[in-house]
Amino acid sequence: MKNSQRVVRLFIILFFIGLFDFNTVYAQNTANCDCFVKGVVKDRETNLPIVGAVLTIKNTSKVTTTDTEGHYKFDRLCQGSYVLECKIIGYKTTRTTIALQHSAEENLNLSEDEVHLQDVEIVARRVTSLTQPSGSLQNQSLEQTRGQTLAEALQKMVGVTMLQTGASIAKPVIHGLHSNRILIINNGIRQEGQQWGSEHAPEIDPFIAKRLTVVKGAAGVRYGSDAIGGVILVEPAELPYTIGSIRGELNTVGFTNGRTGVVSGTFEGGLKKWKGFGWRLQGTLKNGGNIRTPDYFLANTGVREQNFSAAVGYRSVKLGAEVFYSQFHTNLGIFSGSHIGSTSDLLSVIQNGEPFIKADFNRAIERPNQLVDHDLLKIKAYRQFSGNRLSLTLGRQHNQRAEYDLHGPQAALKPALLFRITTLTGDIVLEHKPMAKEITGQIGFSGLHQYNFTDGRPLIPDFEQSNAGAFVIERWIRQKWEWEAGLRYDMRWLQVYRFIGQTLDQRNHQFNSWSGTVGGVFNASSYLSVRANFGTGWRPPSVNELYSKGVHHGAAAYEEGNESLRPETAYNLMGNVEYTSERFRAEIGLYYNSIQNFIYLKPQSEPILTIRGAFPYFKYVQTNATFSGADVTTEWNITPRWEHTAKISYLRAYDQAANDYLVAIPANRIENGLRYKIGTVIHSHDSFVSIGHLWVDQQKRVPPNSDFMPPPSAYHLWSIQVGGDIILTEKQKITWGITGQNLFDTAYRDYLNRFRYYSLEQGRNFSMRLKWIF
């Protein structure tokens, strides 16, 4: 095959079975070894057959290719469950599970059209993550996280941990960086809320996602400023443009701890009369009560969540458009025992060893609590012309965050803090056709305009900011080598409307900088590939770092901004070696991220005296910091039924100027899993049982006297999972799963939980998941 075709094909994502893999047709029972599976592999767009696709049935010797009409057939198969793999050079290999009872028809529609550009994950695969390490959760691994928060789900990936504020609020951390150092791209739009706050969890319904991807390291070129720690891509499935009927799924999850219930449903379909149109409606409800630690309940830790989204789109070969709207609403209780007024309150809780406030199970959410709403409207359109593709994406987000304090009658009506931020984004990307048959790439422009209002307690001032950026990324693939390089320039204008007393004091800031990336992949053999990437990114100081002023409740710290802060610049070097054989896969990633002008809170020698006593005084200052570490993953199919996986995350963060460690860095950890594939038990196919063990070390690398109490001890957690699929009818399937977390009800605290001072972590938690596909 010619290189140019290879390049083009590499870019085309083989994508089939849409949101649900229920194209399978199941026939009557006959216990024999004369079953067959057949089907047609077609290009979803042109509906033309794909010739020469290689199909294999895993763990058998059966291999076939599609004929000139795209047909394939396997016969003389015994009843049972099989994994059907479809490969074609340049395409991503895909697998689908068939529960074969007599015969099955598995028609594969391959999406050749670039609609998946929309699909942020693919953008990543095509651009950012080619030479940069990334990981994703999809299918079964994503299923197993259903009902959990986004951050809880993401920490399944090596190198990703979470920053918690009690049991109900969690934020993802990539290689030790979080909040406004990582970007979340929700359905192609940069998520903009109040990311700077460690107690501000991402306002995203994880049920929207068909795939969650984490791109590790500075990814500024494609995604713009701020992405110096990494990028999280939340991508829904594509709309069902080719389906004539209505289909959907219903997810229910129940957790014993918190007695949390989650229901999420999706309906989608195409329009028979209007070819090329597709629509989807989706919604989620969540209700949880007080969380229990091994020793006591945590008062006021309930959660209510109501989310919905709707999308409609049109697609043809030449052009397409999509409109997406989503709404996220949550009411989060903040653990009552974490409310402190003064440093002496905090010290007495720590000394007590457990919260002063005891509670029973309760669903009521009282103050303190957070009411958060996030609305997103997205419009996307593209047009293809002579091998090029031009796309335009527009987004409008509104985020409202109301934080209620424990205080008097006024607070009942009025939140202590109310943030309202509106963000408008626009991106135009041109993907050009291959140049010199080997070089492909894209150029793009992005813009952002944002304004924020803060009411209540003084914390951050009102502000308005605008961003403009332009980038170019080019890729060159030749034989075993793949190269990519990119460059970007961004400008940011920030206007701050600060009040001194009743007088407006407007401050203007302007920041601008270059970002760059260069990387290569060497596919040494079909077993071994080596990749390396050097990327730079930058992050202008955020408004809280420039202007915040006040006591950070919960942290018992007086924090003060510094308006002369300069942008941070990250220089990120990463190397990755991946070995894949039939039964063993290993991936070792090393990284070194040097951040110049790293902004952090430095303790000052004198405390600040307030009406609530003396508080430790912190100022935002800059230093040069390094984050270096390793991520290791292994997967070993010991026998066809037994599988072992291991994940190791190692991180060391250092303040080069102070010659000391940095605070609040996740501890090193090792995770092991052992899985046994049972196969078909009664009516459950693909059944499995797995046990998991997680060891998290004590964080010993902390500066002396940097905290009210030493980092918590190391801990071990055990978990168990069982699950499988029950086939109901030819179009209906139930996927079930039971999970037990913290099996031995271990009492532990985590260093990256800001409420570690006040309480233990969650105790044992069993959950039951049912997903009904219809």
Binding site: A364, H407, G408, A411, F453, G456, D462, G550, E560
Partner: protein, 189 residues
Amino acid sequence: MKPTHLLLTLTLALTITAVIWSCGTKEAPAPEDENELITTVRLTFTEAGTTTPQKFEWKDLDGDGGNAPTTSRITLKASRSYKVDVEFLDESKTPTDNITDEVREEGDEHLVVLTPTPSSLFTYTASDKDSRNFPIGLSGTVTTGSTNQGTLRVQLRHQPPVNGQPVKNGTVAPGSDDVNITFDVVVAP
């Protein structure tokens, strides 16, 4: 794509952009308005048998941070009895917002605690009660000891119900500090 088509696409794009971007109606920035700021704690001591009040204040008019708070030294006579009234004010507002009434109204979830160090400095007995017959501590009686000097810690404890159950039990432990300040005290002969 023909140039005209490109132009058309861009025009459409810009139109959509303009429509979306103009959806936001903006308001003017306004100064912050803290709900429950307490800037001033005022202790009024009236010696038994007299009508001349002595006022001592702890003040931080610009709230947390900024200018340091100012505080006056409490001077009392040894072995006397004083009627004491505690007031909490927000003097950053015009007119001054008196928080004391609110504390009294919500006596069931507030407790004012006066802690002298050393404890022999004086004793404080609250004279006001909440609906569950626990002290509120906004007014009471101080009986001074012999000549001495030390400090007085004034705490306003906020002890709201947890899950609908009252937690106030007359002791300092439940809840959290709304106020936690210290005065210097001299008990003179």
